[in-house]
């Protein structure tokens, strides 16, 4: 089974800074880690490979230092790693990111399954996975908590929903995003770490695969982060007591008092 895992390097510190000009996150100078949700994606890919054979490729888009995260993925057992890195990719929103990843995956061409973490810790949108599937024209299931069965042309999954789960059959090739309930990520191995030290990480820039330059980076991003802030805590509500009739009466009075009705 050929599996592609999409990972992102995110800042370890929770103190994220925003560049006032571009309104995007400042990633340089902060220590980077693999987005925690992507660790579950890597683990699931490795487990599938151990069970079914095949190859796991890790794909990431980011500044040159994101190579560290790809090396870490190699140390866990990933076979190959590709970094999409180019100045013109910088400042991408979820749409431009999904487009860039999709074009890179088209160049890789061979794959049965793409696995992403459900969302990143810094952006928190949970959009890139599903958008990527749309760009590639393949099915996707988000919030997967378990893979039940893998066949040659389909996969049976459990998708987390608010109260419980749905069992879904998805045809392959396809994409899933995974939640933390799916597994417990492993620690690196010595063999993996040794390999990670010397292995070549492929770095693809804007000229290495087929892309339209106006669709990537800041230029290709219709959305911009203007401000990130913690919402103000709302005042505590009031719970009305008594039987239904008296509660309704109290509620009507209160709404009248505050001139809502």
């Amino acid at each position: 089974m050929e599996i592609i895992v999409c990972i992102k390097q995110v800042p370890e510190s929770t103190e994220v800074k925003i560049n006032p000009q571009t309104k995007t996150l400042v990633r340089e100078s902060v220590k980077g880690i693999i987005n925690p949700f992507d660790m579950y994606a890597i683990e699931e890919a490795l487990r599938l490979k151990e069970k079914l054979g095949g190859k796991v490729t890790a794909l990431s888009m980011g500044p040159p230092q994101a190579e560290e995260s790809l090396r870490e993925a190699i140390s866990l057992g990933v076979d190959e790693a590709i970094l999409l890195s180019d100045k013109s990719f910088a400042g991408a929103d979820t749409l431009a990111t999904a487009y860039t990843l999709a074009q890179a995956i088209k160049r890789i061409s061979q794959f049965d399954l793409i696995i992403c973490g459900k969302q990143t810790m810094d952006g928190d949108t949970a959009q890139v996975g599903p958008s990527l599937a749309e760009k590639l024209g393949i099915p996707h299931v988000a919030y997967v908590r378990k893979i039940n069965e893998v066949k040659t042309d389909s996969i049976i999954l459990e998708q987390m929903v608010e109260e419980g789960y749905r069992r879904i059959k998805m045809s392959l090739p396809g994409l899933i995003t995974v939640v933390k309930e799916i597994n417990e990520p492993r620690l690196p191995s010595l063999r993996g770490k040794m390999r990670a030290k010397s292995v070549e990480i492929l770095i693809w820039g804007v000229n290495d695969f087929n892309i339209e330059k106006e669709k990537v980076g800041l230029e290709g991003s219709p959305t911009q982060v203007i401000k990130i802030f913690a919402p103000q805590r709302r005042k505590k509500g009031e719970i009305l007591q008594g039987d239904i009739d008296s509660q309704v009466e109290q509620l009507v009075n209160k709404l009248k008092e505050s001139r809502v009705i």
């Binding site: 492993r186 620690l187 690196p188 191995s189 010595l190 063999r191 040794m194 030290k197």
Partner: protein, 385 residues
């Protein structure tokens, strides 16, 4: 202090540290209280390739030496001495095969050990043969193509949990220690059973158990080396692994020291942190100095062994002796600095103090280590003239 580790050694140390921080420290208290064998940690160590560290590449390992083993044992011990000894005793059980076994034996047993699929143990001690290891009574009488083993081994680390056992037994009682031989036994052999599991003061997650042989038939191809080599094999194996106990001691001491240092900065008495009192400062300074001295000695001896030294009983004994005495001293003082809190089981230092005590006792008591060192000195002096 910078010990100028190679990039690979740094990698091994960091990996062991990560495993200790993420997989050992969170569960050490529970393992200790329940006296539960650390299978979960062994699984992680296998998956991380550390079980095969000392096994040569041709048998699926990495071919690292005593020094790299010490780095891992030290890091694990910083978290839990019981987990560390489980890891170290596996190597102790496998070393006789690796050092003295023939090609077939190595091919048969070492790849599974390297992958962590099988765990090893070493059986020498008996009820009446502790420091006086030459007093063992377990017998191995040759009958046709087999040896028939009878006797009981005591206090065997990894006993009952391990799959492969290297056992020292007498093939010729009339020759004393020159009549001892080493055998490879496997769990499940007829006539091989396990006696009682010991309840210990410290290193409580490690398994310590009797091995019982009742007319246990062992194929002759399981003899390691030749008949009569058993005692030599045991002593050479222990020379190899003693620095590991030194490393365990350094790790336990380091763990306790870190707890005490952290606590001394947080704990306030008389309106200030207790770390501002000179009485505490001097204790901390002594502890750190002792640990560094012990570490430097253990590392130096391990590197000496790995350099290809032929005779290193004295140095190996020194590393174990010095570091384990330091571990007892440092952990006792860590409890002292933390006072009543240190004595409570809610804090980890009382466990570290319990764990430290065994390092002065097993793999040869520190009194026996002094004998080894003194005999070596006197032997050397006899050639001076």
């Amino acid at each position: 202090m910078n010990y100028f580790l190679t990039e690979e050694q740094e990698m091994i140390k960091n990996l062991a540290r990560k495993i200790t921080d993420e997989k050992v420290i969170p569960i050490r208290q529970e393992l200790d209280e329940k006296e539960e064998f650390p299978w979960e940690v062994l699984k992680v160590l296998s998956q991380s390739d550390l079980m095969g560290l000392f096994i040569p590449p041709e048998y699926g390992g990495f071919g690292f030496g005593c020094f790299e083993m010490c780095l891992v044992i030290e890091e694990l011990s910083r978290g839990c001495g019981g987990v560390a000894v489980t890891f170290a005793a596996n190597a102790l059980g496998a070393y006789p095969i690796f050092l003295f076994g023939n090609e077939e034996q190595k091919k048969k047993y070492l790849p599974d050990v390297a992958r962590g699929k099988k765990i090893c143990a070493f059986g020498l001690t008996e009820a009446e043969a502790g420091s006086d290891a030459a007093a063992i009574r377990t017998s191995a009488i040759k009958q046709g193509n087999e040896y028939i083993l009878n006797g009981t081994k005591q206090w065997i680390t990894n006993g009952g949990e391990a799959d492969i056992y290297t056992v020292i037994a007498l093939t010729d009682k009339s020759k004393g220690i020159r009549g001892a031989s080493a055998f490879i036994l496997e769990k499940g052999m007829d006539g091989f059973s396990f006696g009682k599991k010991e309840k210990k003061m410290g290193i409580r997650c490690s398994a310590t158990r009797e091995l019982v042989f009742e007319d246990c038939r062992v194929p002759q191809e399981n003899l390691i080396g030749r008949e009569g080599m058993g005692f030599l094999i045991a002593m050479k194996t222990l020379d190899m692994t003693r620095p590991g106990i030194g490393a365990q001691s350094v790790g336990i001491a380091q763990g306790a020291f870190e707890e005490a240092l952290k606590y001394s900065r947080e704990r306030k008495q008389f309106g200030q942190s207790i770390s501002s009192f000179q009485a505490i400062q001097h204790m901390l300074a002594d502890m750190a100095t002792q640990i560094e001295a012990a570490r430097a000695l253990v590392y130096a001896v391990a590197r000496f062994i790995d350099s290809g030294a032929k005779e290193f009983s004295r140095e190996s004994a020194m590393a174990k002796l010095f570091a384990s005495d330091i571990a007892m001293n440092v952990t006792t003082n860590a409890v002292q600095i933390m006072g009543g809190y240190g004595y409570m089981r809610d804090y980890p230092v009382e466990k570290m103090m319990r764990d430290a005590k065994i390092t002065q006792i097993y793999e040869g008591t520190n009194q026996i280590q002094r004998n080894i060192i003194a005999l070596s000195l006197i032997k050397e002096a006899s050639s001076w003239r």
